[in-house]
Every structure is written in C-alpha cells, then in structure tokens.
C-alpha cells in the first residue's frame, strides 16, 4: 500500500541539529515544510526529566536514546576482501534517533577546524610536496574556505550558546584562549565553564612546560543564555550525566533547547515522528528529486511525499545509505576509483594516558560533558608532515566527563578485572584517576568507504549499507607522535602511576568497545563532480533540489569533534538556498 500525500515545498529527512536549522531557516522564507523523523518525539520533560534520566543502566549501558540495530544498522568489514558482518549490537559508535538526534546525547564539545583543514590537500602539496601524500590516501579540499565559513561558525556558536575563551579574534591572539585556532570574529557567547581538579592540574603542568592550555569550548551553558530565537539555556550544574543522556536541566545545547520550540511555533512547519524515509524519489530523467517515500509507522503504510526541495539531514551514515539506495551520485568504486557516493568514509583517531593519584580527590561525578582543558600545540597546522612522516594532528585534553561506575572505573595496570583484587581496586582508585587524551584527525583512503551490502537487509527489505574501514599506518604514526608528547606531561604531573593506550602498528579496527560517534564522509563536498558527491553548497551535483547536510560532507576527518563544523555547514548551505537557490532553482555551481 502506498499513499500519496499533498505536496510540500520542502521535505526534511531527520529532525536533529541540521534538520532543525534548515527547518527554521526555510520556514522563515515562508515555505511549507514537513520534517520526517524516523524515531520518536523527545522533549526535555518528560523524556529527559530528573530523576528518571539519571539511569546509567538504561541510557549509559542499554543505550536508551540510541538507534536500535534491530531497526537500523549496517555491516562492517576491515578490508575490501572480507565478508562484512552486521553491526548487531552497538559498540564503537552510537548513532541516535528521535527528535533532536545525536544533538540530545552528545557531550557538547564544539570546535572549529583549523584553517588549513578545509584545504588540506592543497596545503600539503604546497607546503610539503605532493609526494608527502602516501599511495591510497584520497584526501581532498572542501571547496569552501575558512574565511567564507567564519560567519556561519559564529552563527552556530551563538545559536547553540557555546561557553569558551577565544584565542584569536581577527588575528589578535587572546591570552587564555587557543592561540593556534583560526581567527574568529568575536569571543564565545558565554564564558568558560568551571574546571575540575584534573583539568586544573593539567593546565598548570602544561603551562609550566611552555604549552598553551585553554578551556574546551562547551555546549554546556556556564550561565543563563537566550539565543537569537529567544530559546534559553540554564546553567549547567555538573550532574555527570551528559554523553548518552538528554539533559535534565536545559543546560546542554540541543535542537530542543536551542531551536525546536521556536520552530514549532511556525505555522508553515510541521513534523512527523516514527516516519523513516526509505528512498528519495527521482524524476524520470534523474535530474531532480520528486519527493520521498517513507514508512508511516502509525498508519503502517508507505507514503509518497512529493516535495520541491529535499533536505537530507539524517545522521552522516544514513545520509549516505539513502543516497546509495536512491541512486544519488555514482557509487564509489574503490578499485577503479570512480564514482563518488560512499567515498572517503573516515573516523577519528584517539588515544590516551591514564594517571593515578592516591591522595588526590577528583570527585569524578561532579562533571560536565565538555568542561576540561586542552592544548593545541600539536594541532595539524603545527606539524611538519615531511619530517614526522604522517599527515594529521590532534588536540590534547584533560577533563573528566562523568563518574558513572558501570561505564568504567580506570584501574592501574595489573589490577584484576574480577574477584577480590578488582573489588579492592575499585575501592582504592575510584575518584583517584584522570586521563589525558589525544583527539586526532583521520585521513581518507581509497579502501575506506561505504556501499550497499550484498547479503543483509533491514526491516523494510532494503540492503544494509556496508562499511569498509581499518586503521592505517599514517594515522597510527600520528597517534604515536601524540603519545610521545602526552607521556612527558603525564610524568611531569607526578602521579603514583600512569599507563597509556594508543593504537600501535598493526592495530585492527574493533567494533566492540566505544570509541567515538564521529563517522564522517561518504557524501563529500568539493569542487569537482568527478571527485565529490556534493558541491560546495552541499547540493547534490546531479539533483539540484537535493541538499545533504551533516558530517557525511567532510572529505576527511578534522582533528576536532565534528558538531561545530556540521552546524556551520548547515547555516552556510541554508544561506545559499535562501539567497541563491530559491529565487532561481538550479545547480548552484
């Protein structure tokens, strides 16, 4: 059964950060908009309300706010020659679902990329020579410059209400901020958060070593805040239940706290939940989309929703899956190196050193998702790739984000994982450990990519998407470089003991332990339809009325958490749609 609903001007797939931003921007144009969200509706009260959201088992461990693999997943293999297996239970990454998307359960670390990251290939070639780029590495420029993007980073940071300290305002270095950041037009909208004991200790030691500590930019409010839509945040109370949880306190920037109640007042905007888009439908000539087909769970039927403009605003992986299923762009062929859709899937290279202090009380439960101190002295712009033998960089950071005991109590090497030794260990060391982490870039490679799986299907009978991904020497060298920088800082802090965990040569991707939900690429933006799926305005090269938001547009991963860039790109694309596309719908490039 397929029902056809009356046509809309715009259909938005997914109602997370980017769907909400595009919804608001296009609703202000007076367009008739429908957003389709595959998951349930979610509001601070009752969905995140105190105390029921403060439930580690339900949300931190059983992942109550994440997509259920039963409803949506993918298959994964490490090399092109392997048989991919389904990602049956969530582990390495945790895509969200429901209204607000991943915007409800992130920690809130909100960065801008380095200036050179948006033109990485050109930068490497100009500075170190094309030969620096190893065979099989497929990095590209983004097709948009940092200078062009700056107003949109600023816009997103002021909508989301980010707490931080500028390090570079219009070229002037600011004391206490990140001196290595790209220039910004003004300071953050809110002052930095309070810092925990661990972050204070790290800052002190790093400064003594001649490094440049600064507070992590946080989407956790440091004071009451009202944004341009009149939406409000209350000050964070350091509850220690941030990542994986919706915020009980209206303190974490999310579509719910920053956009949705304002958007819901717009009479020309509506949304439907439990409505998973199955396919973007194309006109006979394939040059435009005619709308989307979705499954309406309430009615238990498929619905064709015609629309003039289709905004793809699901999670990065789902954006690519929908494009593959809908024939948007030619699928990437990693052998022939043709096509674009599914190309340059990237992840994030992380590592860390744990430090144990018998006599220091960290009170790890008194924590926020993004308070903490970072240094950017080893940022991607600060490294001589030719000398070090890798392309990449990382920020280094300390900041305990929670003290939830099931998710893990850091114990010194040699402590048993069970039995009397473990029990003694948790009593001795809970609240006496901290860590210094590296959060680094991940380059793009020919054979790290996304396509459709030949075997497994989802509940709608569609092929699952297949991820091919493994760690590469270049990025392992990068993380080992960071290890060599972090360990001396750790030693200088004089802990009772410390231990490191970084990927070493031969490391294989393991989908079981949580790493990060920074899955990027697959629908990358760029300047050439032969090498990118989207143009610089996130518009599909082949279907001008399809715009694809999200981190799927990153040509390779930056050294930072992606949300700041995702938000800025959404405002950038929205501006192009409002000012340039709507008056004259056409390919913008």
């Amino acid at each position: 059964m397929t029902r056809t609903d009356p046509k809309k001007d715009v259909v938005i797939i997914g109602l997370g950060w980017t769907g909400s931003i595009l919804g608001m921007e296009l609703a202000q144009e007076g367009l008739d908009i429908l957003a389709l969200e595959r998951g349930p509706d979610r509001e601070t009260v009752p969905d995140f309300q105190y105390p029921k959201v403060i439930d580690e088992l339900k949300y931190g461990i059983r992942l109550g706010f994440m997509q259920k693999p039963k409803n949506s997943t993918l298959t994964i293999r490490l090399t092109l020659d392997d048989v991919a297996q389904p990602y049956r239970r969530l582990g390495s990454f945790l895509p969200g679902d429901g209204v607000g998307g991943a915007g409800i359960h992130w920690n809130g670390q909100t960065w801008r990329p380095q200036e050179i990251e948006l033109r990485l290939k050109s930068y490497v070639e100009e500075t170190f020579g094309a030969a620096t780029i190893p065979a099989g590495m497929t990095i590209q420029d983004w097709g948009v410059s940092y200078a062009e993007m700056e107003p949109f980073f600023d816009r997103f940071e002021y909508v989301a209400g980010i707490a931080g300290k500028a390090g570079n305002i219009k070229g002037e270095v600011q004391a206490g901020g990140n001196p290595f950041e790209a220039p910004r037009s003004r300071d953050y909208p809110m002052p930095p958060m309070k810092q925990g004991v661990d972050a204070q200790m790290f800052a002190k030691t790093a400064a003594a070593l001649g490094l440049h500590p600064f507070p992590r930019p946080a989407a956790n409010a440091s004071q009451a805040y009202t944004n341009e839509y009149g939406m409000q945040l209350g000050p964070c109370n350091y509850c220690g239940f941030c990542e994986r949880y919706g915020c009980a306190n209206y303190s974490k920037s999310s579509p719910q706290t920053c956009i949705l109640d304002a958007l819901k007042r717009m009479p020309n905007f509506s949304y439907k939940v439990n409505s998973e888009v199955l396919k973007i439908e194309l006109a006979e000539d394939g040059k435009t989309a005619t709308g989307v087909t979705y499954f309406d769970e309430a009615a238990q039927e498929e619905v064709f929703q015609p629309a003039d403009l289709v905004i793809v605003a699901a999670y990065a992986l789902h954006n690519v899956h929908l494009m593959l299923l809908s024939g948007i762009g030619e699928p990437w062929d990693p052998v022939q190196q043709t096509g674009t859709t599914g190309k340059n899937y990237c992840y994030q290279m992380t590592g860390g050193t744990s430090l144990f202090f018998k006599d220091v009380e960290f009170n790890p439960f008194a924590a926020a998702g993004s308070n903490g101190i970072s240094i950017d002295d080893y940022a991607i712009s600060q490294i001589d790739f030719a000398k070090e033998g890798f392309i990449g960089g990382s920020y280094i950071t300390a900041g305990i984000s929670n003290g939830q005991p099931i998710r893990g109590i850091s114990l010194p090497k040699g402590t048993s994982t069970w039995g009397a030794g473990w029990k003694q260990g948790i009593g001795d060391w809970y609240g006496h450990a901290m860590s210094i982490g590296s959060h680094g870039s991940n380059m793009a490679y020919r054979d790290c990519c996304l396509d459709l799986d030949p075997t497994y299907t989802d509940r709608h009978g569609r092929p699952l998407m297949r991820m091919t991904f493994n760690w590469k020497d270049n990025d392992i060298r990068m993380t080992q470089f960071m290890r060599a920088k972090i360990e001396p800082i750790a030693e200088a802090m004089q802990p009772d003991s410390w231990q490191s965990e970084y990927k070493a040569e031969g490391a294989q991707y393991d989908v079981r332990p949580y790493q990060t939900t920074h899955n990027v690429g697959g629908a990358i933006m760029g300047t050439d339809p032969k090498t990118s799926a989207l143009n610089r305005y996130l518009q599909a090269w082949g279907q001008h009325n399809v715009f694809v938001m999200g981190a799927s547009a990153f040509p390779q991963n930056i050294q930072y958490n992606p949300t700041g860039t995702v938000g800025a790109l959404a405002y950038w694309a929205a501006e192009a749609i409002r000012k340039d596309y709507l008056p004259n719908p056409r390919p913008l490039v």
């Binding site: 403060i54 049956r88 220690g240 069970w418 003694q424 079981r512």
Partner: protein
C-alpha cells in the same frame, strides 16, 4: 481572607496531574516492595532454572566476593538483577539486529555474530561450562570449593574452556552483567541499599554538583537513588 467562590480550576498549566498520581502510586509501591525483598536464597527466578540460578549465585559470588571492603555480589543481590535482565528486553536481544546469515566464528573484532540471544547464551553457556567443570574438577561449578571455582573462572576468562563459537561472549556477558547489577540503580534488583555506591563514593542519582567542581576534597554526602531513597 474568605475563599473566593468563583475560582477557576483550569489546570492546563499543571503537567499531567492524573499521570502524576499513577506514577506516585507505582513509585511508592516500588519503595515499599524494596523494604520487603525476599532473602536472596528464596528468590524465585523469572528466567533462570534452579540449577542456572545456583550457578549465577556461585559465579557472581566469586566475581565480586563478599570478603574484604565493600559489599560482594551476593550482598548487592546481583543474581536477582541478572535474572530480571535475562527475562527482559536485554535477555531476548530485543534491540539487536538478529537477521541471518550468522557467522559466529567471524573475526571477533566485528562484534557479536551469534544467533543466540543473551538469555540463550547463559542457558547454553552455563550447561557447557558446568560440563567442563564436571570433567575438569569433578563437579558442576556451584558444587566446587571456592579455590576450584576461581580456577575454573580464570580458565573461562582466558578462553581455555572450549566453548562453541556461539558461546564466545558467555564470559564477557557474565562479567559485564555482574558489574551492572553491582552498580545500577536499585530499581533493577541489584546494588541493594546502594551499598556499592557508598563503597566507592558515588552519590547515585543526585546529579548536581555545581558547588563541588574543582574542590580538592572528598565529597561527603551519601547517595540517593532514582526512587528517592537516601543512604
């Protein structure tokens, strides 16, 4: 002041009074029930058989033993937690992708690939492990002395007990679920009296520490759970 007789009770601003009333009854029932929990040995499992429950009692008692500081798994009522989890959505793999074909012998890095649900892994895993204990140590696990139990669990943890590929996760599930029962909110049956939280100094579901961020001294106040019990 006289009561104004023309008052309106247009309570649209009251968030769900009726729902609140229902909830309050449930919550108080839950709190009352906690007070009259049956002794662990008399607990009637929802999912586990008598033999399986005896195994879980014996195994968790070694994974988090009673001796030493802090409660053991038995004092924390971890076996009740595990039984309830196996009887619920976790046990039935309700959230997992369970479409075939299944390749349980695939590269472990690709994650669980068995067709068995966690509850089935426990059932088959306990049976297989008990057989191994019988063959190796002369009795099912629950009947061994604690020294032999520790040796058997050590073998299991080191993958020295030959189990079918479908049961590859038996050890990690058992250990993970034991720690979950030790530390999760008491509403799930474990962490009795919040003793596990008290032991490590975790304040539970209080979730506001604005005044304590960056203070280099131990936070003194005991925990509160989701139902509002204090310890």
């Amino acid at each position: 002041m006289p009561q104004f007789p023309f008052q309106s009770t247009r309570r649209s601003f009251l968030a769900g009074t009726a729902a609140g009333a229902t909830l309050s009854i449930l919550a108080f029932q839950a709190r009352a029930q906690a007070a009259r929990e049956v002794p662990l040995a008399e607990y009637k499992p929802e999912y586990l058989s008598v033999t399986e429950y005896a195994f879980v009692m014996a195994a968790t008692a070694r994974l988090i033993p009673s001796e030493g500081d802090g409660p053991g798994a038995i004092e924390a009522r971890v076996p009740v937690f595990i039984d309830r989890q196996l009887a619920g959505d976790f046990g039935t793999a309700a959230d997992l992708y369970m479409e075939g074909p299944f390749s349980p012998e695939a590269d472990p890095n690709l994650g669980t690939q068995t067709a068995l649900s966690p509850a089935e892994i426990y059932r088959q895993g306990i049976a297989a492990f008990d057989t191994w204990c019988d063959d190796t140590h002369g009795a099912p696990f629950a009947d061994l002395d604690t020294g032999k139990q520790d040796a058997a669990l050590t073998a299991l943890s080191k993958d020295e007990v030959t189990l079918a590929p479908d049961l590859r996760e038996f050890w990690s599930l058992l250990l993970q679920n034991t720690k979950e029962g030790y530390f999760s909110d008491p509403q799930y049956g474990g962490n009795a009296g919040m003793e596990s939280w008290i032991y490590i100094g975790f304040p539970g579901a209080r979730a506001n520490y604005y005044d304590w961020v960056g203070r280099p001294e131990a936070y003194p106040l005991g925990p509160v759970d989701i139902a509002g019990e204090r310890a």
